[in-house]
Symmetry: C2
Subunit: 142 residues, 2 copies
DNA sequence: GAATAATGGTTGACAAAGTCCACGAATTGT
DNA sequence: ACAATTCGTGGACTTTGTCAACCATTATTC
């Protein structure tokens, strides 16, 4: 039982890794690489976002992140603002350009998922979403 | 409804991408990198495995795979055998060493999943596996 | 209140991962 | 036999990710 459990989980992991790869492959490649897209997304997603928050949520190396941020800044997609309360903290903020580029990209990713949406029946969609929710809940232990 | 669907899927994808990362991070780093582990796994997994099969199932570039195979061969974990029926096909076969190294690695990955196993109730485990199965079925359209 | 530790971010050097494109060798179809 | 196709190889390159040392600021401890 323990073995089947582990085997099943790993099987899904293998499957979903490929699925995720096929999802974001080349979707993003117009303007951004996948990592910078993820970072940009989280900057927009996390309120009062600092570098360490992104490190935490994406689980990436801080020096790596730093380089991504540097590139984003160079492209004028973000800017930084030192906190006055604690000068160690630097808030990362989307520029207008950053926001609109992110939007474009979001649309592109969404349109790829729209294809999936079309392909499925209403029932399948519901099961999919429900199952994903449950998995996340169980795995995060909440 | 379409928007919530897409949003939910993407939310799960973000979550699971990080989860997968945390799963294989440093598990593998003793002897192999993640890609060569995946390749090794598939060599063992696919009957009469040729390079193109791995390319297909892992969805990676064939030249990239070629380099990985070269390294595995150099380490004496695999060997190649041209097919007699069709000399374009080259079967990739695990050596004894390859098999035992793979086993070690498998154990390590499994032991990491054992932690997850312990943490969950019987019911949670069942839901998890069932949901993953359903997701895979729906996404592969079978 | 000076020394020390901890936190947040930066840098450089490097290693791993992945892409692109051209090629060669073997086979298939005509 | 000669295109077209399939499968694998190789070189050059870019992107992605890791590691360790570092600086600046704030928190802690004596």
């Amino acid at each position: 039982m323990k073995n089947t459990f582990i085997k099943k989980i790993r099987e899904f992991n293998r499957f979903y890794r490929v699925f995720l790869g096929s999802m974001n492959n080349r979707v993003v490649n117009l303007k951004f690489t996948l990592p910078s897209f993820r970072v940009l997304f989280e900057i927009n997603n996390i309120p009062n976002c600092c570098a360490r928050d992104i490190v935490k949520v994406l689980n990436i190396d801080k020096s790596y992140l730093n380089r991504i941020l540097k590139a984003l800044k160079k492209d004028k997609l973000i800017f930084k603002k030192r906190s006055v309360e604690d000068a160690r903290n630097i808030f990362i903020i989307l520029t207008e350009k950053g926001r609109s580029e992110l939007n474009l990209l979001e649309n592109e990713v969404n349109s790829r998922l729209k294809v999936l949406h079309e392909r499925l029946t209403k029932n399948e969609r519901e099961i999919l979403v429900k199952n994903m929710n449950e998995i996340k809940t169980i795995l995060t232990g909440k």
